[in-house]
Symmetry: C2
DNA sequence: TCCATATTTCCAATAATATAGAAATAACAG
DNA sequence: CTGTTATTTCTATATTATTGGAAATATGGA
């Protein structure tokens, strides 16, 4: 993962509504949810939600598939795993056991 | 971790210079680095770097300790671990094995 | 004390982002 | 075809963040 790609993903998550949307989709993985249901659960106007879902999708954190007149959004697990790896990669110059008593990273 | 706290941490990381600073500190954990060294490595003007370090510190991602006329900044590992836990918590309604073939989360 | 170095605060210009109303598009049901 | 529901695009406004020069603060050495 590149620095810019990671910044994109982090920026996508760094917003209250979007983070809530993402976590709702993580919670509802792997089936996913439609914007209608998400908007109802989180009380977001459709245009606002659409804007946020697009942002999350462009960041590679969610995917969208058309299902008739609904769109099903799903959390993209490889995306979030890549981000986490990028953040903790190379920690302690390659000796993760230095980070914490039990070397919590890279288990 | 609260939603707002997480947004704060994510926003702190969602910026190219700050992400680079953070990763440099993760790489140089647990000893840490001084702003002088960081600024030299990443080619950042002192006021800009100071602003970014403050942002990271307020987000709980780095800590600062005064050492004579230097300040030593360190990556705060519990902070980043809490953030990661928050992002992947509760995944798949509590059945992480649904997320990926091997149930990669919460190993 | 006086000077050099390290870091931060102040500030103003600039840029990026979030919000939601109104209108547009798309799909299905009758 | 017509009406209904789902979602997105367009648009303007409001809000927030980033940047770095200049000045301020703080430490230690001569």
């Amino acid at each position: 993962m590149e620095n810019k790609e990671a910044v994109n993903a982090l920026a996508a998550l760094a917003q209250e509504s979007r983070l809530a949307v993402f976590r709702l989709l993580v919670h509802n993985a792997p089936e996913g949810l439609t914007p209608g249901v998400i908007g109802e659960q989180l009380d977001l106007p459709a245009p606002t939600l659409s804007f946020h879902l697009k942002t999350l999708a462009q960041a590679g954190l969610v995917t969208a598939v058309q299902e008739g007149r609904y769109v099903r959004y799903r959390a993209e697990m490889p995306g979030i795993n890549a981000l986490i790896a990028f953040l903790t990669d190379d920690c302690c110059g390659g000796n993760p056991q230095l980070c914490s008593p039990k070397g919590k990273f890279h288990e």
